[in-house]
Symmetry: C2
Subunit: 431 residues, 2 copies
């Protein structure tokens, strides 16, 4: 039985997981797919350190081109991460007729247009199941399982690190910094956590999901992205008192001929499933015109979980290769009924707002008067403490309002001399 | 472009949905898969009634063999339901070289061995995504997305009708009969609802999921099945007071070399995601050795939802047919580390128990003494009312205990003269 030869770039955490699976599950995989997957070469800068799996030294190399240019290799797995040199290696692999499996969301979100076009030209696939939701088969589900659907919306908790931090803040009532420190201690946050906590990683993943659902690869700059570093534990507390949790949500919604794409902290009703997603778990809520709302949920990170997705991609590709097929189901088809991206200023939402204002008669009248002038009507308002002539929090929930109006109203309210600090506004998602 | 020809048996609700999708989404599907799916013939006993979609009268027939024996047809969709004549038609279709798509869980659970073996002999596929969880791509996810995993457990709410009834009973505090009446009014329960409420439908679906995960097709008689018709609203109420919901859960668990397969009402902690699954929704919790716990959630029924799954199967098959491939990923591989099915008497579980006993001193001592004699230790106990010398409910939660011991203890306790009615016991699932 001729096997399918695979080369691996990046013998790190997930790479080691992939090697372990290919070794330990060889007979299971062969029984399922009728072919051997043979790991022919592994490239890493460091081929000396011990890994949790032993491999024949002959297959190790520090030269990526020994993998990329090996005529016997059918599939190249890229698990280096980052933009360069990962991009160069993937491009060279495609040019050399290899299929590519990668977990690199940042690269595909940023350089996907070039990479997918090149793959198409060379009749090769770039598969990336591990790039969103680790072991959750969300990409296969959207691409194949929901193939007959038009998509109405995607709403997901796509970043485990920030969900861990928010869970911590909400359940242990600690501050952002303390929660971040705990995330780092547990290995859930990197030394520089900014990609995670500023929403960039969620935005990269959302860009890929939108590409699969709507056939267009948007750029990071097109998307409204707001992270969680400014969320304070009092807002989590007040939200909870009103029946909400706060989650970093990645949202794409088609409304008529417009698409909204945004990532930001969001109030979600406690009884909704997304609200129960704790710690490093991810959850993706997909709404299709035929299937209505589906939820996919699982750990958003983890060595073996991500490796499971990489191997699933490998298995799919072995079947295409055996069949001489190029891309059995197209990556995506452009939804031509979408005519533009909706600017964040034009969205409509309910809002949670917190003002820090001096506790004296007439303050609430001033604030609500200004809101009213901008067509923002108030669903509920609570003054959280009573401390005459001192600064106290006033918490409001609005009815649906235009973002632009809200911004302008808050700017005006922030300038009132009775209002201290910048007003806090967090969007509420109807689910 | 040569198309793939499809024949449909059964122009009922889901059949009509499939025809609608193939008609209205023709260009979307062609763009995605590079082939036309051509609906060549539709067979139904009734070809006169109006449907929500118009089709050319020439393709309608009342003779199934015009579909099954048509040499131009590549795929036969069976949406008649029931055992016969559906089985005969599928067998004839396979013998005539057709691939088959079906939503018929009862048939596959009962006659799958013969059907799958025949399909294999004829190098044809029988796909059945719509048979479990309607539009949720659970079968594809297990078979392909989690291809590298060994499965530890499956736990699912697989029957929308009984989940609707339990939700009704729990939230509107109505009795079983009233909830069933409401389910019938809303079209969620059939005239004869016994397959749904007695757990048989859940068991059929569980048999198919177990087949996919463990490579063995068990028979209904091998499985412990208990329905929900004996659940009373007081038990839902008491369970809720203790932080649990009651769900009809389909459970398969591998413990060492044994497999437990069972369907029964189950107490689930309220904070667990499965506990939040309301109404006709389904949710399937799959635990794999690599991915840990994944949850798949969505509507468990619905015309277009099921039709979405049927069309996804069709699309997969068109790709196999174009490639001349037989079954790109094997249906299932037997897990040879499983040596036996665990009998229900041998399982261990925590239990919720309710006794109706006369309120007088010494009763609790008698009951707990008998439980102790069978090694059942009590985690908590509450007497729900005080009515001296009258019958009152006593509710207990046990620690982990052997089912056999519990049964024997309850039999003894039920015979005490201070205990009226048969004691109620409901298993608690640790999640």
């Amino acid at each position: 039985m001729k096997g399918i030869n695979v080369g691996l770039l990046g013998f790190g955490t997930v790479g080691t997981g992939v090697v372990k699976i290919l070794k330990e599950k060889q007979s299971l995989l062969r029984a399922k797919i009728g072919t051997n997957i043979v790991l022919k070469k592994i490239c890493d800068k460091d081929i000396e350190s011990k890994r949790a799996v032993t491999v024949n030294k002959d297959i190790l190399t520090t030269n990526p081109y020994e993998v990329i240019k090996d005529p016997q290799i059918d599939i190249v797995i890229e698990l280096i991460g980052g933009i360069q040199p990962a991009k160069e290696y993937i491009i060279e692999a495609l040019k050399n007729g290899k299929h590519v499996v990668t977990a690199n969301k940042a690269l595909l979100a940023q350089e996907g247009k070039e990479i997918f076009a090149l793959a198409k030209n060379h009749q090769r696939c770039v598969y990336f199941e591990a790039s969103v939701g680790a072991g959750i088969p969300i990409i296969k589900s959207i691409r194949e399982g929901l193939v007959a659907n038009r998509f109405l919306s995607i709403r997901g908790i796509l970043n485990g690190t920030s969900n861990f931090i928010l869970t911590c803040m909400s359940e242990d009532k600690c501050g952002f910094k303390e929660a971040l420190r705990e995330a780092k201690q547990k290995g859930y946050a990197e030394a520089d956590p900014s990609l995670d906590i500023e929403g960039i990683d969620s935005a990269h993943k959302l860009i890929l999901l939108v590409y699969l659902c709507y056939g267009r690869l948007f750029e990071l700059k097109d998307i409204f992205v707001e992270g969680i570093s400014h969320i304070s534990s009092v807002d989590l507390l007040y939200a909870k008192e009103m029946g909400f949790n706060i989650k970093l949500l990645a949202i794409a919604k088609k409304i008529k001929d417009e698409l909204e794409i945004r990532v930001h902290p969001t109030l979600i009703p406690q009884e909704h499933l997304l609200s129960s997603v704790r710690g490093i778990f991810n959850a993706i809520y997909v709404s299709g015109d035929l299937v209505n709302d589906l939820l996919f949920y699982g750990p958003g990170a983890g060595q073996m979980s991500a490796a499971s997705a990489v191997v699933a991609d490998l298995v799919d590709l072995t079947q295409h290769i055996k069949a001489g097929l190029f891309r059995p189901i197209m990556d995506s088809v452009e939804d031509t009924t979408i005519h533009r991206l909706k600017k964040i200023d034009n969205i409509e939402s309910r809002y949670y707002i917190r003002f820090m204002a001096i506790d004296k008669p007439g303050v609430l009248a001033k604030i609500s008067g200004l809101l009213g002038r901008y067509q923002i009507s108030i669903a509920s308002v609570t003054q959280k403490e009573r401390r005459k002539q001192k600064v106290v929090p006033i918490v409001m929930v609005t009815h649906e309002a235009k973002e632009r109006n809200l911004k302008e109203a808050l700017l005006k309210i922030g300038k009132l001399d009775v209002v201290k600090d910048k007003p806090i506004a967090i969007r509420i998602e109807e689910l």
